[in-house]
């Protein structure tokens, strides 16, 4: 019995093996390049595929794309990719969308195993890190050779954000910034003037004091105390994390004063929720509070416009008040190509199309997927026309005073740098140490980090 079934098994295995073998043989005989191109080549001449590379349009290629900003915009991405493929019949784009929270870990793992996609999306901070690690394809020679391409189609600042040491290593895809949102109804109720570009912290505080109504649970102004808010606020006071030559200046007097102001809004002037207010430390709590009409002025990213589309009150945006100068966050997302890509031609065609082609950009605008970083006002008109907010041009005006994330001279230490500063901000926020002491500590940690 056992022996019999064993014999049957043996025969079965032999059949499978021989089948595989003959298959292999057939392949090898018919076309030596079969392993390279997935389609059965109609003309099995070995010279055509091996030695001289044929014209790029003849050979179909697949490029891989990894993105995070498309999370929630998968349909738009699909439409954009299809539009590209329609114009570039020889290229297939194999895309994958990964949520932002897991994106970095996933991409890092792919890079570590050498299986990264041809094109992937990065924010400015990570761009610096990957560029410094020499993982990205230098596009400069391709750009120089492409006569049909003019970098002036992009907003210069956004385009230059992906330039590393004089090499263009990515193309900006979209940008976003942070502006002051305000609840018009709350201002109207007190018959007050709306915030405008001339406002400084002083006017903001005065207005906030009038608008704060503890009984109704209404706060005059709000901004969280965290790293991103910190590095921008200190610039509004003429400070900064690094000086012009890249030395850390975390505990400069201007920075200490700015941090004190951030804390004072809540603890001294009481125009913001208490710093240990747990409810305001929950994710999206500030957004929900604004939507519930409980905050008069608040600093939010422009990617939140859609959330307040149906708000039961009138609202608008303005430039952020600064103290000695204006400063606004600037976040750029771009596409970069892997240094190891074998399809640099197809990759470049896709980068160009995806970031600047009117066909692609218009789809992005219609779907409200960030702001495309193109300079052409005709293209941008559609974006401006979408309201609320009415003062949509503020989004662009804010770029005149933008602050890039202070990545510093060692981009690979960016994560650690943030954590080191945040730990001290937390201590100052809890009132365990003074603003001065917190930033002295932070300065020491940052110095130690950069000296290694």
């Amino acid at each position: 019995m056992l022996r019999k079934s064993g014999a049957i098994l043996l025969v079965a295995i032999m059949i499978i093996i021989s089948a595989c073998g003959s298959n292999n043989n057939n392949k090898v005989e018919s076309s030596p390049s079969a392993t390279k191109s997935p389609e059965p080549s109609p003309s099995p001449s070995p010279t055509a595929s091996e030695s001289d590379s044929p014209s790029p349009s003849a050979k179909p290629v697949t490029i891989k794309l990894l993105t995070y900003t498309a999370n929630g915009q998968e349909e738009t991405l699909k439409a954009m990719v299809e539009a590209f493929q329609a114009k570039n019949q020889d290229v297939t784009v194999d895309y994958e969308v990964v949520p932002y929270a897991d994106y970095d870990t996933k991409l890092t793992t792919l890079l570590a195993s050498g299986s990264e996609p041809d094109i992937y999306e990065v924010g400015y901070e990570n761009f610096r890190k990957y560029a410094a690690k020499d993982l990205l394809l230098d596009l400069s020679p391709i750009i120089a050779a492409d006569t049909s391409f003019n970098p002036a189609i992009y907003k210069k600042l956004a385009y230059d954000a992906f330039n590393y040491n004089g090499k263009q290593m990515g193309v900006t895809e979209s940008f976003s910034d942070v502006v002051l949102y305000y609840n018009k109804d709350l201002f109207d109720a007190k018959q007050m003037k709306y915030p405008d570009a001339s406002w400084t912290w002083k006017e903001e505080l005065e207005a906030a004091q009038k608008l704060t109504d503890p009984k109704a649970g209404v706060w005059g102004t709000y901004a969280p105390i965290q790293f991103y808010e910190f590095y921008k606020t200190i610039v509004q006071n003429g400070g900064g994390v690094f000086d012009a030559s890249g030395n850390p200046t975390v505990n400069s007097p201007a920075n200490v004063e700015a941090l004190q102001w951030m804390i004072d809004k809540a603890s001294k002037y009481k125009v913001s929720p208490a710093l240990n207010d747990d409810t305001f430390n929950q994710p999206d709590a500030d957004l929900n509070a604004f939507l519930a009409g409980k905050i008069a002025m608040v600093r939010f990213g422009i990617w939140n416009f859609g959330r307040f589309k149906d708000a039961p009150f009138k609202w608008d945006i303005a430039l952020e008040p600064g103290n000695t100068q204006k400063a606004h966050h600037f976040f750029a997302d771009g596409l970069v190509a892997s240094k190891n890509t074998k399809q640099s031609d197809a990759v470049w065609r896709f980068l160009k199309f995806f970031t600047s082609d009117p066909d692609s950009v218009s789809k992005r605008i219609a779907a409200g997927w960030s702001v495309p970083a193109v300079a052409d006002d005709a293209v941008m008109d559609a974006y401006y026309k979408q309201t609320p907010p009415e003062s949509k041009k503020v989004v662009i005006e804010a770029l005149d005073s933008l602050v890039l994330p202070p990545v510093g001279p060692k981009p690979e230490k960016w994560g650690e740098l943030q954590t080191a500063v945040v730990e001290q901000l937390d201590k100052a926020k809890l009132g365990r140490i003074t603003a001065q002491k917190a930033l002295d500590n932070a300065q020491k940690s940052v110095e130690a980090l950069l000296s290694k």
Partner: protein, 299 residues
């Protein structure tokens, strides 16, 4: 004779074939990573560099583990956790085990109920507890306010965050501990108690002279497992406080994760995890030594 030998061989082959999938998995996903982590711990690998760009830097990573302030904080925090967690869970565990050992109606329901947190995912549990522990609108502080206590802002307060983590971990693990102890209790033969009753022993001396000694193998197991788990506290910390506020709940595994995947310091993280291994190994050895002194085995 030949037949016997062949059967033996057949059985060995069969055993090997059946074990193969598990063994392959072990080798690929446990043994190889462990071995390579030894090499990585002596290197400056940052996940992004190719193998050819890696430098071996000797003991530098290990030196840094012992000079890095954050490493110290995380080790200190784990010991704080242990001090708060171990005695409470052991005592509560015994108490619940004794209660669950009663022969009352619906006892199986109680036993199942206490076990539910154990099989619930840490992620879900942590998120729910984050709501319950909310300083302003959480249920815990509401209940405390009813008895006249103004609760702290648990997870946002560096003095209270670890207390909250310990309490939630006890709540989640108590089911496991008490069910294991319950099994240990039920394993103790009734004969001893009957004999003790005949001799007129008090309830206290029955507990000290019979229950505790005969429960000691189970207790030993529980304490060892809880120790190892305490050193590996991670999920709840990552979700409830993310190591904050101001590093008050930063633990060893949390630091390993952060260094490896957020700061790209794979070499340093590997060194940290080997230091953690040595700590756990030594603690377990000490426990083994202690075992000979106080654990009583029947027969």
């Amino acid at each position: 004779m030949r037949m016997v030998g062949q059967r033996k061989w057949n059985r060995r082959t069969a055993a090997f074939v059946f074990l193969l999938p598990a063994v392959l998995g072990l080798i690929a996903f446990q043994l190889l990573p462990m071995i390579s982590s030894i090499f990585i711990s002596f290197s400056d690998w940052d996940l992004l560099s190719k193998w050819t760009q890696i430098h071996f830097i000797g003991w530098t990573n290990y030196v840094e583990v012992f000079s890095n302030e954050k490493s110290y904080t995380s080790i200190k925090n784990v010991f704080i956790f242990l001090i708060g967690y171990m005695p409470v869970i052991t005592l509560l565990g015994i108490m619940f085990a004794v209660l669950l050992n009663r022969n009352i109606r619906a006892i199986k329901l109680y036993r199942a109920a206490i076990f539910v947190p154990v099989i619930t995912s840490w992620v879900a549990v942590s998120i729910v507890w984050r709501w319950l522990l909310n300083g302003q609108s959480g249920l815990i502080n509401y209940a405390l306010s009813k008895i006249g206590i103004e609760g702290p802002i648990w997870l946002q307060d560096d003095h209270w965050a670890m207390v909250a983590i310990i309490a939630v971990t006890i709540w989640k693990d108590i089911g496991f501990v008490s069910i294991i102890l319950l099994a240990g209790l039920q394993d103790i033969s009734e004969d001893y108690y009957e004999a003790a009753n005949l001799d007129g022993a008090s309830a206290w001396s029955k507990l000290i002279k019979i229950t505790i000694p005969l429960l000691s193998p189970t207790l030993f197991f529980i304490i060892t497992i809880s120790l190892i788990n305490s050193f590996q506290v991670f999920d709840q910390v990552l979700i409830m406080t993310n190591g904050g506020p101001a590093g008050a709940t930063s633990t060893i595994v949390e630091q390993v994760y952060r260094n490896a995947f957020q700061f790209n310091k794979m070499g340093f993280a590997a060194a940290q995890s080997w230091v953690l291994f040595v700590i756990i190994f030594s603690v377990t050895m000490v426990m083994q030594w202690l075992q000979r002194r106080w654990v009583v085995y029947e027969r």
